[in-house]
Symmetry: C2
Subunit: 343 residues, 2 copies
DNA sequence: GGCTAGAATGACAGCGCTGTCATTAGATGA
DNA sequence: TCATCTAATGACAGCGCTGTCATTCTAGCC
């Protein structure tokens, strides 16, 4: 293995003291140009790379942004991660992530672990932390950003959207298009999902078309196959259902396939709307309506807020609502075959 | 923020020296039961958690497994990650991952960065490292596992499969089912993809049915929409094409949707086979054939090999081939409507 | 009872870096 | 020309932990 090159060796080669090398690396403007040039040369020749552990120990903080997400296998979170990663490119920060598996207890534990590493910042998903976790976060000395959702009481900063309102808007869209007997398909009924359901319910009730029995859910994680199953179960009980709002796109895709299998025309006899607007939605046949959430941007903005704060710049408003948008496509054109919608 | 609790404070409270606390934590059997009990109590009361940076500095190594993957937004790699994560649960190791963006230069740089942190182990994707990266890895003192692919010349250990052979097997499956004018759809033509193409080509040539013009590829990353486009382009030139082997499942799904749009019956007029066997393949209508790769298991096995080596146990063979399997579903039932296949 | 082996514990130094001063060299002005 | 100030550099100590060796204590033995 490449033998370790220390600051001291670089210093010896450049004919200066270690501390000057350290400064030249961290605040080049405080070192004379000529000295700096010699140091840079020595660094290059020796292939010096600072030891992050030593640095963390000496400074009492780590150049690490901690990220807590529920799952890596859910495209929703990897898009956020991708935004975070992008926002951190060319910065001195590393990302350190951990998976909570949708378990608040695990999340609480991991928050503790992270905070003791004195991270430069922390990004966590959602607003459903335990009380203990909340207390930990409140006492944190680093910037904390909650992503994916907005709520009334941020720990520190927030970039997200209202799941309730987004679901309500999607439901309104179905009703606008003329559907009158909408159902709800949901999997992994975590708090976020429940708030989406609440949005669906509120909107449907406001229009007098909510039927609690036209709701089909499962605790199992969502999947395309699961969406097919849920639709089949719902239609078995309520064949009159004329539209489904699916808690996410996998379920919607599964519902579409199941409708095909059952010979049910979409959107004529059944409207389908998903949530998240994964890439496939637009490419499907018929193209599937969905709710676009700005996942990549949430990650990027979260990082930007943290960096602004660390640099002493103005991080902007504490709560950023990147409102979700309805993307109306063919799958919700309406029971009577309304005018086509652009995709 | 929870104020930092040091070893010394725990030691003071337990009435022992810091060194004893350190030992009690790392090798409990070397400390008397009674002393250990006092120390454990003090740790619990104070909520002590060791500082990983200090430990890394003092020991000269970090309890970190470095993971290099091309992308987080590709389900293929997140499944591997998931396996890694699982294999590391309840161990003292942390995962530290970095994204290469399919760029060998970036990968090389990141390998350097990782190795200087003296990680406990390193997991990298594929076998296409640069020469410089290869040299770095050869000199590494920690276990190194290449995942996702097997090849003749492992850096250290390997868990993967042959993309060439898997693609050849898929092609053979198409031919077995009676398709005679197979085409190839590919996106992001990285080395892995090229080897799959080579497998397709070799098999098709062996049967005298390879037509270099029935190959439609793009440098753009794959997507469902991209699959639709590729199929459309291919069929525009070669409407006689009776089957497509798609470089991955997204393309296959897109091809299926495009076939629907074009009114082409699948599998009767066009057979479609994907690669990776994402969950949706089985749920599609018609269900889509694919090549199942054991991604989760590759991650888990890689971790297991590293842990075995670190613990002085036998890590088993240096190269593990988790052979891919053809999952024959309805989308490749054959042009004449052969007997149904179980899904 | 005195001696020794081994178990349990502790003292000391240092991992590589940086914060906080102190020091030096050069520039400025009366 | 000399005092004064500023920019550039350096000395020192210490971050929290662990490796190495030294020390203490206990039990076992002749």
């Amino acid at each position: 293995m490449a033998k370790r090159v220390t600051l001291a060796e670089v210093a010896a080669r450049a004919g200066v003291s270690p501390i000057t090398v350290s400064r030249a690396l961290r605040r080049p403007d405080t070192v004379q140009a000529e000295t700096r040039a010699r140091i840079d040369a020595a660094v290059a020749e020796l292939g010096y790379v600072p030891d992050p552990a030593a640095r963390a120990l000496a400074t009492g903080r780590a150049d690490v942004i901690g990220v807590l997400i529920p799952s890596v296998t859910n495209a929703v979170f990897t898009d956020v991660l991708s935004g975070i990663y992008d926002g951190l490119a060319d910065s001195r920060f590393d990302v350190q992530y951990a998976i909570t598996r949708y378990d608040p207890g695990t999340e609480e534990k991991l928050i503790g672990v992270f905070l003791r590493q004195r991270p430069a910042g922390l990004i966590i998903s959602g607003i459903d932390q335990t009380d203990a976790a909340r207390r930990l976060l409140d006492r944190a000395t680093c910037p904390v950003v909650q992503v994916m959702e907005t709520g009334p009481d941020p720990v520190d900063m927030m970039v997200g959207f209202s799941h309730h309102d987004a679901a309500a808007a999607a439901t309104r869209h179905l009703l606008d298009r003329g559907y009158r007997r909408p159902g709800f398909l949901g999997a992994r009924m975590d708090p976020r999902t429940r708030r989406r359901f609440a949005g669906f319910r509120a909107e449907a009730e406001a229009h007098g078309v909510f039927d609690p029995d036209r709701v089909e859910t499962t605790e199992v994680p969502s999947s395309v196959g699961g969406g097919a199953k849920l639709l089949r179960a719902l239609l078995a009980r309520h064949p009159e259902t004329d539209a489904v709002f699916c808690n996410n796109d996998d379920l919607a895709l599964g519902a579409l396939f199941e409708a095909m299998r059952m010979g049910i025309p979409v959107p004529g006899q059944l409207g389908i709307c998903g949530f998240n607007d994964l890439e496939m939605m637009r490419a499907a046949e018929p193209s599937l309506s969905s709710v676009r959430t700005h996942r990549f941007e949430m990650g990027a903005r979260a990082v930007e807020m943290i960096r602004a704060r660390l640099d002493g710049r103005d991080p902007g408003p504490a709560i950023i609502d990147l409102e979700a948008e309805i993307l109306a496509r063919r799958s919700t054109e309406g029971p009577t075959g309304n005018r086509p919608v652009e995709t």
